[in-house]
Structures are given as structure tokens and as C-alpha cells.
């Protein structure tokens, strides 16, 4: 289990240096999006042909945070089950999303998309959302505000701990 400190957005050389099972920390912007937001983002992508909201080259975090508390942008923020976003992930990787953060297993189509596009899937600890909220510095709502917790947000994190779930070669931690 190798440990790496990574800065976001990830470069190609960052991505190819990651192996399924590695422990990393992430510092920089991640973009929260989950179930209902994915349907909307796909619609916008199809209409415009490119990723909106400056998402090209960025990292999506599958999360629906709880409101601000204890002087922090969110009382709690942690990964939701990633497989529910499998319907959209291959299309978004091909459009330029280079990494996703969630929890749990992904479909073979997502593994294949990671291999084809040189993208990765990170796994964060589920149910550790008070701990992870301490890694959040700022949050800005970019869209889909009417979805409440499911809105698209740019969230700046510092030393946010994740494991590499799927690497650019298609190695999958859950397949072991």
C-alpha cells in the first residue's frame, strides 16, 4: 500500500502513477454531483457537446453533504454508492472527467472507460463524513441549486484521504 500526496486537478503523469489499492491524499477542487445531478449534466453535455461548468479535466465527488455546521462548510460530507452513477460515468470520462470519488464496486463498463480514457476511480471511507468534512476548506454552488443536497458544488479539499479503486490500467480493488 503506497501513499501519495496529490494535487488537483490531476495531471496525466499523476494518473498513470496510481495503482489500485494505493492510499492517497487529495488537495484542490473536487465537484460534488450525485443521482439527479448526473441526469441533468448528461442532458447539458448532449446539448452543448462539451462539459459545462469548467468540469473538463476535473474530479467528480459522488456526495450529498449535510448543511454547514461547527464553523465548517458542511457538518458532514462523504461518498455515496458509486454504482448508481455507472450509467453516466463512461460518457463523462470520455468527455473529460479524469477521476471520480465514491464508495463501492463499479461496473465493467466503468473499468473499461477508465482504461480507455486514462481515468481513475477513488474510494473514500463511507460513514466517516464528520472526519472528511474537516478536510473541506470552501464550497461554492455552481448549479442545480434546486436539488438541495444534490446540487453541483465546487469544493476545495485539503489532504482528503482516498484509496485508488480503479487505476488507468483497469485494475479494480474490488475484483481481488
Amino acid at each position: 500500500m503506497k501513499a501519495a500526496k496529490l494535487h488537483l486537478p490531476l495531471s496525466k503523469s499523476d494518473l498513470v502513477g496510481l495503482w489500485a489499492g494505493d492510499l492517497c491524499t487529495l488537495t484542490g477542487p473536487v465537484y460534488t454531483l450525485r443521482d439527479a445531478g448526473h441526469a441533468r449534466l448528461l442532458e447539458e453535455l448532449e446539448a452543448q457537446g462539451t462539459l459545462p461548468y469548467g468540469l473538463y479535466g476535473q474530479t467528480l465527488f459522488y456526495a450529498g453533504p449535510s448543511p454547514a455546521a461547527a464553523g465548517r462548510p458542511f457538518g458532514a460530507i462523504g461518498p455515496t454508492t458509486a454504482s448508481r452513477m455507472d450509467f453516466a460515468a463512461p460518457r463523462l470520462h470520455r468527455a473529460g472527467i479524469v477521476a471520480t470519488i465514491g464508495k463501492g464496486k463499479r461496473s465493467q463498463k466503468v473499468v473499461q472507460a477508465c482504461r480507455e480514457t486514462g481515468s481513475v476511480y477513488f474510494v473514500a471511507t463511507g460513514g466517516a463524513a464528520a472526519f472528511l468534512a474537516k478536510c473541506v476548506e470552501t464550497s461554492t454552488c455552481l448549479g442545480y441549486d434546486d436539488l438541495g443536497t444534490e446540487a453541483l458544488r465546487k469544493v476545495e479539499v485539503a489532504d482528503f484521504p482516498v484509496f485508488v479503486g480503479i487505476d488507468v490500467s483497469g485494475n479494480d480493488i474490488y475484483a481481488r
Binding site: M1, G21, L23, A36, A63, G64, P65, S66, P67, A68, A69, A70, R72, F74, G75, A76, I77, G78, T80, T81, S83, K103, G104, K105, V123, T125, G126, G127, A128, A129, A130, F131, L132, A133, K134, L147, G148, T149, E150, P161, F163, I173, Y174, R176
Partner: protein, 286 residues
Amino acid sequence: MQDKQKRFISAGQVATAIEAAIPAIACDLPSDVLEALTVARAKETGARGAVVLDHLTENARIASEDQVPLCQDTGVVWACLEIGPGVTVEGDVFSGVDAAVARAYCGADLRKSLVRDAFSDRSNTGDNTPAFCELHLVPKEGLARLHIMLKGGGSDNASRVVMLDPSAGTRGVREEVLACVREKAANACAPLVIGIGIGATFDKVASLAKQALMRPLGKPSADSRLAAFEEELLDAVNATGIGPGGLGGDTTALGVHVLTAPCHIAALPLAINMGCSAMRRKSIDL
């Protein structure tokens, strides 16, 4: 025992108890769960599993100290009122619960995770209502016990009901539980608390599995045969090596709790209700 004629539970009492309990349930991990995580961490040999368990115990400390939610998914509220002989309740005993839940979730900055209708209107209700309430009449003189659980979506999604053939027997139940764990544990925030219902009917067996989650960890079934089966299942689940977070290790579950009931001669209903490592629940005697 009080004068049984005077024992009365009002809708107001139930609503008040629920409103007061929710913020603490969302932020304070039950002591039995924290104890089980701590014991598991000391024994865990999986490198990634140990990191996950460290995250979870640190999370419990921060959530309790800062009174922030243990998990961003602060769940659906499930309330079960158990009433024994000698206790009466108002016919609309749950009428104040939704208003109490709305006040608690908005007042304590908890996430609102419910949509108006599963099929026809998936807009958020905005206040985490409605709650899901059950009234159970039980043969315990004078009992008025309120069980509250904040149930996350990820672990409930990993749950299932299966109608087995009676010939499947103990082995069939064991295989089904292990299949469910192998398929779903990684998505359900292991280490899990696994509630299992066996018996009754299609609709009731899921309720048994959910009630099984209320029993504190470390307290085996009062029925010695069931206690042995729970231990056997826990050993088998942990032998999978799925581990904390599904990332490999010795601790896939903290406990397996089984409740059984009579059933039809043709049936062997089985329900598996997955509870996550943030098993948020409380039982209150009113």
C-alpha cells in the same frame, strides 16, 4: 407496575421523544458500536481495513465532540412503538411525528433525504418527512418502548427479501446471507451490522430483519440455537475477507442478529437488512 388503567401514551409524548432523540442519534455513535469498532481495529490484520477502521473511530470522536452528523446521509426516520397490555395509546399516536422530524432535521442541520413519491414525484420534501412508523402490540405488561433508527440509503439498498423453499433449510439461509454480503457489503459501508428475519410472511419478514438491528452488539439471541447460528454466520461473513469498506480485512461485520417467527408450511421467508458501520439507533422507555 403502575395502575394499568392510568398508563397512557399520548401523541405529544411520542413526538417530543423523537424530536429530542434525533440530533443525538445522528451525531453520537452508540457505545456498543464504538466498542465493537475499537475491538475490531485492535484485531484487524488488513492494512487498508485498519486505515478504514481508524477513519471510523476518529469520525465517531469528531462527530460527538463537534455535534456534527456521523454520516452526511442522516437517513430516513423509522420509529417503532411497542405497547404491552395495560397501556393505551391515542388512535393518532403518530400524528405529531412528522412535525417533530421536520423540526429536528431543520434545527440540527441534518441532511434532508426524502422525495415526495418514489415513482411520480422525486422532488425533495425539504424537511426529511415523512417518517415511517409502526405500532407493535407485544405481550409485555406495562411496556411502552419507542425504537428509533436513522437508516441510510446505501445500506438499505444492499438489503433483500427472498422467499426460499423450506427444503433450503439452514444451509439455504446461510448461502443467501453470504451471497448478499459478497455482492453488496462493499457498497453498504462495512463493517456491517446484519439484521436477519426468518419466517412470518412476505411483508412481515422485512420488519423482523429491521427489528433485529435494534439489539445491542455483543448481546446474543436469547434462544441458544439462534445464538449459535448468529455466531456461525458472523464467522462465515468475516471469513470472506471483504473487510472494512470492502477494501480487504478481517472485519466485514460487527454482528449478525437473527429474529424468527412461525410461517406457512410452504414457506421459508428470509429478509436481510444491512446496517452500516454508523448504526444509528436508540430505544427509549416512555
